[in-house]
């Protein structure tokens, strides 16, 4: 059960061949997927042999199998964690009942919506990242980009499998639409705004994999608690892959910081102009990128008060982060949670029913996790002996969703007038010239063991290979 059958057209560990109709439906979707990949997948990657990780089973020995894979031949498939015997629903109104192996009729629409929204983010990020291969700072990084891309593609497969298997014709149509929408396209955009923002350069890519893929982790963790067992099991396996994406972001930024600090110490300066002349990303620019990606990503958690969130939770569709480790009653009726609200041009704290504040609960968990990682970046700066600290901006800064979207708030949390905001926004968010500068750094480096000037080499290679290993073979 846990081992993945690669002899099939669609590799899987769900015994796909036992369900002919489903198999045929997915086999019809597959060529569309491949043609989407050819159009929207990584630019100029055809025919490369890439040192990729591919799961051969979902247990520890099998899922981190490394080998060279020709990029378009990566075998996307359907891998579910093994079922837990007699799994029980452990939160919401159905607490204590057996987990659902099928979709209950009354929750069909909501579950489909959750799965489609999650599924839509996966091809979106591949689209957002498609030009990055042309400007990679090293072969090691190029390989990591491709790894992220193929796994996002596989996560799309995971969601499409659920749609096809459990949602009939609606599901099949939704699955097709996933290949129709395009990131950033005006008439048919991706569902969530952060997935329509361009990822034009590697600094943005690393910020995206740090912040936005971490949103993925929290959403998947919440879905891994779901009463709908197939969704829970798929999400669990996706989480293992998602970890690598966050690693790419966290270590990528950390390496940029390390290189910048090194040059700061060599030149004995913190003057952004001199550092830019030396070809590295100055720390204030990094802070502005951080502000942008952080604020765009926390919007992904939705409005601070949401009756949908309450319904999703009470009906058992989507739990909280680490639901199983929390010690309350897992039903949350009568409990309250403090949220930030815009009130007559001010920010106030307000207690609202916990069930309606679950987006905010997840957002706060996410913020805690992100902040901890930013502190680890600060350790790199501290170690270099430089008196500068990166900070995540205030929760209400640059928000486009929720009641805070009506206010202009500084990174410190001060409410500003439109005029003040307009006058200072370039201090806080990457300006056109910041972006132009960062893009000017992007040149392709692909010689094994060589790295672009603006980034330090990683501490260790992938799968403990040497850093100058040939991660990509260009044929």
């Amino acid at each position: 059960m846990s081992s993945i059958d690669y002899s099939q057209k669609i590799p899987n560990n769900v015994d796909l061949s036992a369900d002919r109709t489903l198999q045929r439906a997915l086999e019809q979707w597959q060529p569309n997927y491949l043609s989407w990949w050819k159009d929207m997948g990584p630019d100029g990657s055809l025919d490369y042999d890439v040192y990729l990780r591919t799961a051969t089973s979902v247990d520890p020995q099998g899922w981190a199998h490394f080998d060279y894979v020709k990029m378009p031949d990566y075998r996307w498939g359907i891998f579910l964690n093994p079922a837990e015997q007699d799994r029980k629903i452990h939160f919401g109104d159905h607490k204590g009942e057996a987990a659902w192996q099928d979709v209950p009729g009354e929750y069909r629409a909501n579950l489909r919506r959750i799965i489609v929204t999650q599924g839509d983010t996966e091809p979106a990020s591949v689209e957002q990242q498609r030009h990055l291969g042309l400007t990679c700072p090293s072969q090691y990084d190029l390989r990591n980009l491709f790894q992220v891309n193929v796994e996002e593609g596989r996560h799309l497969w995971a969601m499409v499998y659920l749609l096809h298997k459990y949602f009939g014709r609606d599901g099949r149509e939704e699955a097709e639409d996933l290949l129709e929408r395009r990131s950033g396209e005006a008439d048919n955009p991706r569902i969530l705004q952060a997935f329509n923002e361009p990822t034009p350069d590697w600094l943005s890519f690393f910020m995206f994999t740090y912040f936005t893929d971490r949103d993925g982790k929290f959403q998947l963790c919440a879905l891994a608690e779901s009463s709908f067992d197939p969704l829970a099991r798929t999400s669990k396996f996706m989480l293992t892959e998602e970890a690598h994406h966050m690693f790419v972001g966290e270590s990528g930024i950390s390496r940029i910081i390390q290189r910048t600090c090194q040059v700061m110490n060599e030149l004995k300066t913190d003057d952004p102009a001199r550092l830019r002349a030396a070809g590295v990303v100055d720390l204030p620019t990094l802070q502005r990128y951080l502000n942008f990606h952080f604020s765009v990503t926390i919007d992904l958690f939705g409005a601070d008060e949401s009756s949908n969130a309450a319904i999703f939770y009470s009906s058992g569709l989507k739990g909280r982060f680490e639901e199983g480790k929390r010690s309350d009653d897992h039903q949350l009726k009568g409990l309250t949670y403090t949220v930030l609200k815009a009130d007559n041009g001010r920010l106030i704290e307000k207690d609202v029913p916990m069930l309606n504040a679950l987006n905010e609960v997840l957002r706060d968990d996410y913020i805690k996790d992100s902040v901890a990682g930013v502190e680890r970046w600060n350790k790199v700066i501290e170690k270099a002996g430089i008196p500068f600290r990166l900070k995540t901006p205030h929760k209400a800064f640059h928000r486009n969703i929720g009641s805070q979207a009506t206010l202009k708030v500084s990174p410190e949390g001060k409410v500003l007038s439109e005029a003040e905001w307009a006058a200072r926004v370039d201090e806080w968010l990457p300006s056109a010239s910041d972006r132009a500068y960062v893009q000017s750094l992007m040149g392709r480096v692909v010689e094994p063991g060589k790295f672009a000037n603006w980034i330090a080499p990683p501490m260790i290679g992938i799968n403990r290979q040497p850093v100058d290993f040939e991660y990509v073979r260009f044929n």
Binding site: T240, A243, F247, E250, A372, R464
Partner: protein, 425 residues
Amino acid sequence: MTDPAAGLIKQHLIDPEICIRCNTCEATCPLGAITHDSRNYVVDAAKCNLCMDCVPPCPTGSIDNWRTMPRAEAYSVEAQLGWDELPAEWSAEALAAASGAAGVETSEPEAPAAIAVESTVHEFNSAQFNATLPPWSAAHAYINLYGPRCAQHSISATVVGNVRVTEVGTDYDTHHVVLDFGSLPLPVLEGQSIGILPPGVDADGRPHHARQYSIASPRNGERPGYNNVSLTIKRVLEDYQGRPVRGVASNYMCDLEVGDRVEVIGPFGASFLMPNHPRSHIVMICTGTGSAPMRAMTEWRRRLRASGKFEGGKLMLFFGARSQQELPYFGPLTKLPKDFIDINFAFSRTPGQPKRHVQDVMRERAADLAVLLADSNAYFYVCGLKAMEEGVVLALRDIATQAGMDWERLGATLKQEGRLHLETY
């Protein structure tokens, strides 16, 4: 034997500077040895059996960190949770001083937290030669069918036999325990181990962690054709410092009666597996309960031979104990035909005789071992007391070098071809 190196363990640590706190390792560990707080992910040395399951899935490599530590100084979970970076390695001198001063007794197998003792004096690292792949002709092993992270957390077995296999009257008794799984699947191969969940809770009120025991029976059961396995379990009656203490799991197991139920997790181990091609030779080097997997392999070969289905291949056994009385299975072993298995004993505490360790006896048999080292059909297995590991691998190195072989190359080949397996605890 008082060996200053023996008070050392290899402790498994996570580098907090590289770890991204992704939880993959915690979700993977079959023994629940990994835990975290808002700051760090850490490994509990008392629970980790160094199975390496968590190492390949970790996206950062931060989990692949090991420190040789005096056992008494092993970093606690609380200490690790407070770290911002890994502490420096202890210097060889500091290690020698700390463990020497402790004057540790080490002729017993030790806790799962320990593996290879590394030399404190020279740079030789025996663990680096340990194969992570099984022999090419090994049968496929099932692993992790039951455990905290599996669909089913444990499997219940019935005790169908429990006999003492060392002579009565010695300090320590070793028991041969047979567990039956009825109609529940627990497919195992020689060389694998299972975990026992002792009932009750520890001092902190948490359920006891699992203890690992090697399987002593061959793949088709202690009783051929039945769904059962046997274990070789030695009572722990004093701790590593020699203070009296009753080991939780080993005493529980040794005191079981026929009909009792035991909770089991596993199976574990996908590389310490025997070759199955007919001309393969097996060299087995063990002390104490390290004989369990050797018994399993020997018995499987014996059954094959009896069935007339096996062409041959040499079996060579090096078996160390304090005395003949403390050596499990002494009687049955000596009854095996000489043309079937070449047995070499080493006793370290026979009154009136010089101490002999397995490596001493191996050196005496250098001429035969050199031929086997050079033969790609010969596989080497080392199991038991961790203090033996380095001495044994050094002996292999010297034997190879004296026979004109390049050890660096041979050692790498042994590892790469799954020909040298070390399992010491």
